[in-house]
């Protein structure tokens, strides 16, 4: 464990999906959650949480437009990571047919 436990942060936020969480938006979510010193998990509709860094697991949630996604982060940069993921969820664009 890190000695700087006073920097450990736990954050939770919800976002209403602007588009179905298909391949490309899921990719954006994972990219937003990668590269920061934080772990981020998503869940929707009471399903088991999935790691936001797994694009396949994010797709596997099967979340669709209008559903509320719960985003939880832990770690020194959890606030930034959760904010980035929430921003993607709220602004995701629908995939072309």
């Amino acid at each position: 464990m890190s000695a700087s436990s006073d920097h450990e942060v736990a954050v939770e936020e919800v976002a209403v999906l602007a588009a179905d969480l298909h391949a490309r938006p899921a990719g954006q979510v994972t990219r937003a959650a990668t590269g920061l010193d934080a772990r981020v998990w998503l869940t929707v509709d009471g399903r088991d949480e999935v790691d936001a860094r797994s694009v396949l697991a994010v797709m596997g949630l099967g979340a669709v437009t209008g559903q509320t996604v719960r985003v939880r982060g832990e770690g020194p940069q959890a606030a930034d990571a959760v904010a980035a993921v929430v921003a993607v969820l709220r602004t995701a664009e629908a995939a072309p047919a």
Binding site: A23, R24, A26, G27, Q28, T30, R31, A33, T34, G35, R53, S54, V55, L56, A57, M59, G60
Partner: protein, 138 residues
């Protein structure tokens, strides 16, 4: 061949998809590049020079060079001689910056590409590809 550029100040892990079929390799690379918003170095190689099914160690060597930017390269084979060719590549090279991922082809490519585009390390990209085996779709 599918390729998308990545920013050079922070080199990302390169990815080579190898299949008997050029169409499979390039198609999977297209999907993976699109899901990762193009911010990844990925190519698909496969088939013989005259367009038949097959794999070529020379083509694989060229593809690895093409995507290598200093952060390492993951080779993802589909099956059969693509796997043997990937293993032959590893046997010939002495560095540790090229690894072969044992993973579902399309799903592993997508997971690897998205993870690489986020700036992950070589080991993390390999782990992302191999983790694709355990993710359910339904």
């Amino acid at each position: 061949m599918t390729e998308a550029s990545a920013t050079s100040e922070n080199p990302t892990v390169g990815i080579v998809l190898i299949s008997h079929s050029r169409a499979i390799a390039e198609g999977a690379a297209d999907v993976a590049a699109q899901v990762s918003a193009g911010a990844v170095r990925i190519v698909g190689v496969g088939g013989t020079e005259d367009g038949r099914l097959g794999t070529s160690l020379d083509a694989l060597v060229g593809a690895v060079e093409k995507v290598s930017a200093g952060a390492g390269v993951v080779i993802l084979p589909d099956l059969g001689s693509a796997v043997l060719t990937a293993k032959a590549y590893l046997a010939d090279q002495d560095g540790t910056e090229v690894m072969v991922a044992d993973a579902p082809f399309v799903e592993g490519a997508v997971a690897a590409a998205v993870t690489a585009s986020g700036g992950a390390t070589l080991a993390e990209v390999v782990a992302a590809a191999e983790g694709a085996r355990d993710v359910r779709k339904l």
